[in-house]
C-alpha cells in the first residue's frame, strides 16, 4: 500500500479547520506550596469543596480545605513536576468515575481509568464519587439473602442484600478469601461484584484478578485497585469510586456486592492526608472526621424499596486488627457502623479451621430475616450444638471418664466443626449446605469417624446429585423443609451412610449401627 500524502494533508487540514478556538474565562489560582501529595493554592476564590482542580501537565487535584486566603488540595497523580507559582485551573466538576455495564470485567484505578490493558471504557454514565446515602423513604428492610457459598457464614452469620457485614481479623487469617469466595459464588446470579483493593500489594491484586478469571467470575466483577505504590489521595478516594460504580447498578434495580479491602489502610491514607493538610490530629493521630469518613461510605449500602426498583448494594468492609485487638479506634468505629461482623481468629486458622470464623463472636444483626426457612431451622440447632460444644471443649481431654451425655455433645460438636470447614474457592450451593447441615445437626453423622467427615460430605453431595436430584431441587425452590422432603432426605442420608460405613469400616460395623438404630427406634 502506498502512502498518499495529499490524503494525509487533507485529513490534517480538516482537523485544523475543525479546531475549536473558542475562548473561555477560567478561574485560576497560584500554587504557593506543594509537597507530599498536597498543595496550597492562592486564589480560586469560588472553588467548591471536593471540586476537581487542574494542575499543569494534566495532573488533577481535589480541593479539600477551603480557607480565607488559600485552598488546600490533594494531588491525584505525580506531584513532582508541579512547582510553586504554577497556575491551577478550576474545572467546575466534582470528582467522578465512569459507571455502568461497561465496567464489568475491568480492572480500573481509583479514578476509573482502566489499568488492565483492554482499551478504553466505553460508557456514557458518570457518577460523582461522593453522594448522600439513600433516604429512609427509599429503603426497605433487608429481605433477600446474599449467598456467600460458605457453610459457616450462610448458616450462622447470614448476609442479606443491602447489609453491611464487617470482616475483621489479624493479618493472614483469610480475610480476603471470604469475599473472593462470595464473588465466585455469585456466578449465575444477578449480582454484580466490585472488589476495591485499598493499599494492597500489586501482586495480591493480580492474584485476586487471576483467581476470579479462572473461575469465570470476572464477567460480572469490577476491580478498583489503589495499590500501596499509589499516593494517599488515590487510596482515599478509591472506596468512594467503587461505591459509585455500584450505585449505578443499584439505581437501575440491580444487586451489587462491594468489597472494601481494607478500610484500615483507607483510614491510614486519610490520616496521612489530614496531617499534611494540617488538620488537627485526634486519637491515634486520626483526624476528627475519621468516623464520618467510614460512616458516610457504608451508609451508601442500601436495599431500595420496590417503588424504587428494589436494587441493593451489599458492603463487605474488611478491617485488619493488630494481635486481635478489636478495641482499637478504627475497628470499634467500623464495628459500630456495620450490621454485624465476621470475626476471624489466628488460633483457629492454625488449628486448621478454615474459614477461621469464630462463631461465638461473629454476629449478623439483620441477615437472619433474609434466610430461608430450611436454613433457619438447621442453623438454629447448629448454633446451639456448637455453643454447648464450646462450653465442654475444655473437658474433651478427659475422654472416657466423662458421662455419656457429655461425650455425645463433644462428638456432635467435633463433627459439626468438621462440616463447617471448607476449601478455598469452592463455594457450595445453599440446598447442599442445608442437606449436610441437616445430617450433622440431627446426629446422623455421629457414627462417622471425625477424620472421615470431609470425605463423607464430598461423596454425599455426589450421591445426592446422582441419585436424588429432585430433593435438592425441591429445597432450592421452596426454601423449606416440608415433612415429605424431610422424610425423603432422612432416607437418602441413611441409604448413603450405610454404604459409606460398609466401605470404610467393613460390614460388621454397618450391621452393628443398623441394629443399634433399630433398638433405639
Amino acid at each position: 500500500m502506498s502512502v498518499r500524502p495529499d490524503e494525509i494533508s487533507t485529513l490534517l487540514q480538516k482537523q485544523i479547520e475543525g479546531f475549536d478556538k473558542s475562548l473561555e474565562m477560567v478561574d485560576v489560582g497560584t500554587v504557593i506550596y506543594v509537597g507530599d501529595g498536597v498543595s496550597r493554592i492562592y486564589g480560586l476564590e469560588k472553588c467548591m469543596a471536593g471540586e476537581l482542580l487542574e494542575f499543569p501537565d494534566g495532573v488533577m487535584g481535589l480541593a479539600l480545605n477551603l480557607e480565607t486566603d488559600n485552598v488546600g488540595a490533594v494531588l491525584l497523580g505525580d506531584y513532582k513536576k508541579i512547582k510553586e507559582g504554577d497556575t491551577v485551573k478550576r474545572t467546575g466538576r466534582i470528582a467522578q468515575v465512569p459507571a455502568g455495564e461497561a465496567m464489568a470485567g475491568r480492572v480500573v484505578n481509583a479514578l476509573g481509568q482502566p489499568i488492565d490493558g483492554k482499551g478504553p471504557i466505553k460508557t456514557e454514565a458518570f457518577r460523582p464519587l461522593e453522594r448522600i446515602a439513600p433516604g429512609v423513604i427509599q429503603r426497605q428492610p433487608v429481605k433477600e439473602p446474599l449467598q456467600t457459598g460458605l457453610k459457616a457464614i450462610d448458616s450462622m452469620i447470614p448476609i442479606g442484600r443491602g447489609q453491611r457485614e464487617l470482616i475483621i481479623g489479624d493479618r493472614g487469617t483469610g480475610k480476603t478469601a471470604i469475599p473472593v469466595d462470595a464473588i465466585i459464588n455469585q456466578k449465575d446470579t444477578d449480582v454484580y461484584c466490585i472488589y476495591v483493593a485499598i493499599g494492597q500489594k500489586r501482586s495480591k491484586v493480580a492474584a485476586v484478578v487471576q483467581v476470579l478469571e479462572e473461575h469465570g467470575a470476572m464477567d460480572y466483577t469490577t476491580v478498583v485497585a489503589a495499590t500501596s505504590s499509589e499516593p494517599a489521595p488515590l487510596l482515599y478516594i478509591s472506596p468512594y469510586a467503587g461505591c459509585a460504580i455500584g450505585e449505578e447498578y443499584m439505581d437501575n434495580g440491580k444487586h451489587v456486592l462491594v468489597i472494601y479491602d481494607d478500610l484500615s489502610k483507607h483510614a491510614i491514607a486519610y490520616r496521612e492526608l489530614s496531617l499534611l493538610l494540617r488538620r488537627p490530629p485526634g486519637r491515634e493521630a486520626y483526624p476528627g472526621d475519621i468516623f464520618y469518613l467510614h460512616s458516610r461510605l457504608l451508609e451508601r449500602s442500601a436495599k431500595y424499596s420496590d417503588e424504587y426498583d428494589g436494587g441493593s448494594l451489599t458492603a463487605l468492609p474488611i478491617i485488619e486488627t493488630q494481635e486481635g485487638d478489636v478495641s482499637a479506634y478504627i475497628p470499634t468505629n467500623v464495628i459500630s457502623i456495620t450490621d454485624g461482623q465476621i470475626y476471624l481468629e489466628r488460633d483457629l486458622f492454625f488449628a486448621g479451621v478454615r474459614p477461621a470464623v469464630n462463631v461465638g463472636l461473629s454476629v449478623s444483626r439483620v441477615g437472619g430475616n433474609a434466610q430461608n426457612k430450611a436454613m433457619k431451622r438447621v442453623a438454629g440447632r447448629l448454633r446451639l450444638d456448637l455453643a454447648q460444644y464450646r462450653e465442654l471443649e475444655a473437658f474433651a481431654q478427659f475422654g472416657t471418664e466423662l458421662d455419656k451425655a457429655t461425650q455425645a455433645r463433644l462428638n456432635r460438636g467435633e463433627r459439626l466443626g468438621e462440616i463447617l470447614k471448607q476449601e478455598q474457592y469452592s463455594p457450595i450451593a445453599v440446598e447442599k449446605q442445608i442437606m449436610i447441615l441437616y445430617a450433622g445437626t440431627t446426629g446422623m453423622l455421629d457414627e462417622i469417624p471425625v477424620e472421615e467427615v470431609k470425605r463423607f460430605e464430598a461423596e454425599f453431595f455426589r450421591f445426592m446429585e446422582g441419585n436424588h436430584p429432585a430433593l435438592g431441587q425441591a429445597i432450592k425452590e421452596t426454601g423449606e423443609l416440608t415433612e415429605d422432603t424431610e422424610k425423603d432426605l432422612r432416607k437418602a442420608i441413611d441409604e448413603f451412610k450405610k454404604s459409606f460405613l460398609m466401605e470404610t469400616t467393613g460390614l460388621e460395623t454397618a450391621e452393628k449401627a443398623e441394629s443399634e438404630e433399630k433398638a433405639s427406634a
Binding site: Q15, F19, D20, K21, L23, V26, V28, G43, E45, D69
Partner: protein
C-alpha cells in the same frame, strides 16, 4: 499565618486612612517606599533584619519618609516596634486590594509578547470594564513565551488568548 497578620495591619491602616480621606496618597507612599527599598537592598536588609534594635530602625525609617504624612510615618514606626516590618510588602498588597475593592477598581494583568499600543490598551480596558462592571486598572507585562495574542489575569480569572495556549489545545485535540 503571616498573611493573616498582614491582613489585620492592612485593615487597620485602611480604616485610619479612610477616615482622613487619604487612601490614594497612602498607596502612592507605599509604592514609593517599596520601590526605594528594592533599589537599595542594603537598607532593606537592615530594616528587615530581626536582631537590629527597634529604636535604631525607627530613626532610619523617619529619615527615609521625611516628606510623608504624619499618619503613614506613625504606621511605619508601629510595625517597626511590633517587629513586623518584614511584612511591609504583604501589608501594602493587602491594602491595595482593600482600596481597589472599595473604589470598585479591578487590576488586570495583561501579558503580551510585545508592548501594547495606547489604543489597544484602551480597547482592552473598555472590554474588561464592560465585562466586569468595574473600573479597570491595567498592568502590563512583557512575556516573549506567549508568542502571540495576550493573556489577561483579572482578579483570579484567566482569559488566555495566547498563541501558545491555542497551539497546545490544538495539539491535544489532534493527539487525543
Amino acid at each position: 499565618m503571616k498573611f493573616r497578620t498582614a491582613q489585620k495591619y492592612a485593615l487597620a491602616l485602611y480604616r485610619v486612612m479612610d477616615e482622613k480621606d487619604r487612601l490614594d496618597e497612602t498607596r502612592e507612599e507605599f509604592d514609593k517606599l517599596i520601590s526605594f527599598l528594592n533599589q537599595n537592598k542594603e537598607i532593606k536588609n537592615f530594616l528587615y533584619n530581626y536582631p537590629v534594635k527597634e529604636d535604631l530602625k525607627s530613626e532610619i525609617v523617619k529619615g527615609l519618609v521625611s516628606e510623608s504624612s504624619e499618619d503613614f510615618l506613625r504606621f511605619l514606626i508601629l510595625i517597626v516596634q511590633k517587629k513586623r516590618f518584614n511584612l511591609l510588602e504583604m501589608i501594602a498588597e493587602e491594602y491595595a486590594r482593600l482600596v481597589n475593592k472599595v473604589q470598585n477598581v479591578e487590576v488586570a494583568l495583561v501579558a503580551t509578547p510585545m508592548p501594547l499600543e495606547e489604543d489597544q490598551k484602551e480597547e482592552i480596558a473598555k472590554a474588561l470594564a464592560e465585562m466586569s462592571g468595574k473600573e479597570i486598572k491595567l498592568e502590563e507585562k512583557i512575556d516573549p513565551d506567549i508568542k502571540g495574542g495576550f493573556v489577561i489575569n483579572m482578579g483570579g480569572k484567566l482569559f488566555d488568548a495566547s498563541l501558545t495556549a491555542q497551539l497546545e489545545k490544538m495539539f491535544q485535540q489532534i493527539t487525543a
